[in-house]
Assembly symmetry: C2
């Protein structure tokens, strides 16, 4: 079987690492031939050659929703795109995602859509504490403006925005869910997520469900989804609010690479290839620390691997720069508390006392 992956970053890279054992060949398409996934693919393509890429793949998936549209549109027209084009469309315009979730009665923060920067700032004035989010291209906190204590920015770039009332949440959490071709739904255990500057810094599983599973189940069905879906939540007193979803494997699911009976990456590939997807077993509490903007030297890697029950994932990207994800570390331990304390140690090993300098 030939699986095509649109996008050549770390998510595709880990799909291949995890699923080649199934006897699958992987085609990867990206901007160049040098991405982490392209370098280990069976065949690599650049976006210009999207037709050949799709034609030579039995099924096409995407590791990222903001890849070249021609690939996805052609794969969809050939009936090969899984999950289909619909969730991508919702992600290309954040206002569509919000409206969709709202229309399906799924829990989202109070929001308004602004067709211009001026309108967005007006709404923000009225909302009080809120977040102004550009509708397009926003991930890892890009294109977002936080308004606190009436401190509305004097100007922001013009464009369409979603303005969301700020939720005073206790913590962020997420669910990695999967749905098979015949509609079976499986869930990895929810994780607690800690972000810095809008980027996932570390996470740990399991954490209590707080109604997340129910919401995700409904979302999977409403999207008629196939594959792995990552859904981020805010957990507030008595409320569980969807922040956003990602129609793909997700950074908060990397912990499933260690301590789980199946990783999110293999789960996704099994689902889109039409295999039954298993109920994931979390053998042991697990978590990750992201490696962002750092390039650990030999001694640092040695120190990381010296800690019991750690694994080191290096994506091999060309050029490490501030704020860019370059790898991650997996951790398991007997208790979640121990996972947290290991991650604390690892943070010191990797970032010293100043993680913010790398993010």
């Amino acid at each position: 079987m030939n699986v095509g992956i649109a996008g050549s970053g770390q998510l595709g890279y880990m799909m291949i690492l995890e699923s080649r054992k199934l006897g699958i060949s992987f085609n990867v398409i990206g901007q160049d031939l040098d991405g982490p996934a392209s370098r280990i693919a069976d065949r690599s393509y650049i976006y210009e050659d999207y037709k050949e890429f799709v034609d030579r793949s039995d099924v096409v998936t995407y590791e990222f929703e903001h890849v070249d549209g021609r690939v996805l549109d052609y794969a969809e027209s050939e009936g090969k795109l899984k999950p289909g084009i619909f969730p991508v469309k919702l992600k290309r315009d954040r206002s569509l995602e919000k409206d969709f979730l709202h229309s399906k009665d799924l829990p989202v923060a109070e929001y308004k859509i602004a067709m211009s920067a001026v309108e967005a700032l007006e709404i923000a004035e009225n909302f009080g504490d809120c977040v102004i989010k550009s509708v397009s291209g926003g991930y890892d906190g890009k294109g977002q403006y936080f308004v606190k204590g009436g401190n509305v920015p004097s100007s922001i770039p013009d464009g369409k925005y979603v303005v969301e009332r700020f939720i005073k949440f206790q913590y962020e959490a997420s669910v990695i869910a999967s749905r098979s071709l015949d509609g079976a739904i499986r869930m990895h255990k929810p994780s607690f997520n800690f972000n810095r500057k809008g980027i996932l810094f570390y996470n740990a599983a399991p954490v209590s469900d707080n109604g997340m599973n129910d919401a995700v189940r409904r979302l999977l069905v409403e999207l008629d989804y196939v594959g792995v879906l990552g859904v981020e939540f805010f957990i507030a007193d008595g409320k569980t609010i969807i922040n956003e979803f990602a129609p793909r494997v997700h950074n908060t699911g990397h912990h499933t690479l260690m301590g789980s009976s199946i990783s999110q990456f293999e789960q996704h590939i099994r689902a889109i290839c039409g295999y039954e997807i298993p109920d994931p077993v979390l053998y042991r509490p697990s978590g990750i620390l992201n490696l962002i903007g750092v390039n650990p030297d030999r001694k640092t890697v040695e120190d990381i691997l010296r800690l019991p029950e750690t694994q080191f994932y290096w994506y091999g990207k060309n050029g490490i720069r501030r704020g860019r994800k370059a790898g991650h570390i997996n951790v398991t331990a007997e208790t979640v508390e121990e996972v947290h304390s290991k991650i604390k140690k690892l943070t010191e090993i990797v970032y010293g006392n100043a993680p913010d300098e790398f993010l």
Copy 2:
């Protein structure tokens, strides 16, 4: 870091699958460029180009002891071979292995060395129940003659043999052990192994130790070993006898790919690259069923993956033939008994009622 693997079969394939995440590049050398490991290597070589292969690798290991000697000799002379050439020499002539183990007071079956077929048959006459083993190239039961009830073969091919008195064992077991560059020793949990026609058919871990760990620790030190070592035992009433060792990752360690905090493959690569090796945690009882001489169709793979907590490893070899290992299935479960019963189910799914027809 560039790691060179001599031999291009499934063991090298799984070393790469498991360790690429460490940011390592892999060179593979084999008879052709088409072996399972060659196809996913960063650079692939044929044996004729052994000099370039070694020169472009920071460290060289072997996935099999019977690879082209020029590679190993040159890598050893360059100080790059890990584990070194010594354990290979012991494996090239089974009589040296036996003498070595015996001289170190490690528990082996009573044996005699025969310099010819005639001598071997004479010894067998006197020994009673015994096994006549060719000293060279013997693995997966090849070149072995079982003598039972005085039924000595009338002739065997001429050559050097080890004749071993037959041990009435309860079962076979093995230990996957590892030793780091600085001498730290780690052990995966021992497994129960079930062979058919001299080939591993399935296994399951953990099983009781019965003194195996002690013997393996001594062996690792006596060999001044670096990397993963597989040691097979016969467990008889009150006795634990070494059958043989393999100076490499081993088929009985494939279960560490699932349900363990680290696989034997990554453990080996970490050790030879000079990293600290962790104490492996067995999260949950685990086992494998080998896929020998079979080429499961889509429906069979679906049936395999439908069983909870299974993983399917397909090596992608060219040409499936009787007795040849083509893949394996990993299984975990809450208890070892459950692992055994899952393997029984999987055996029926894969082989029907007639496994022997494929072996």
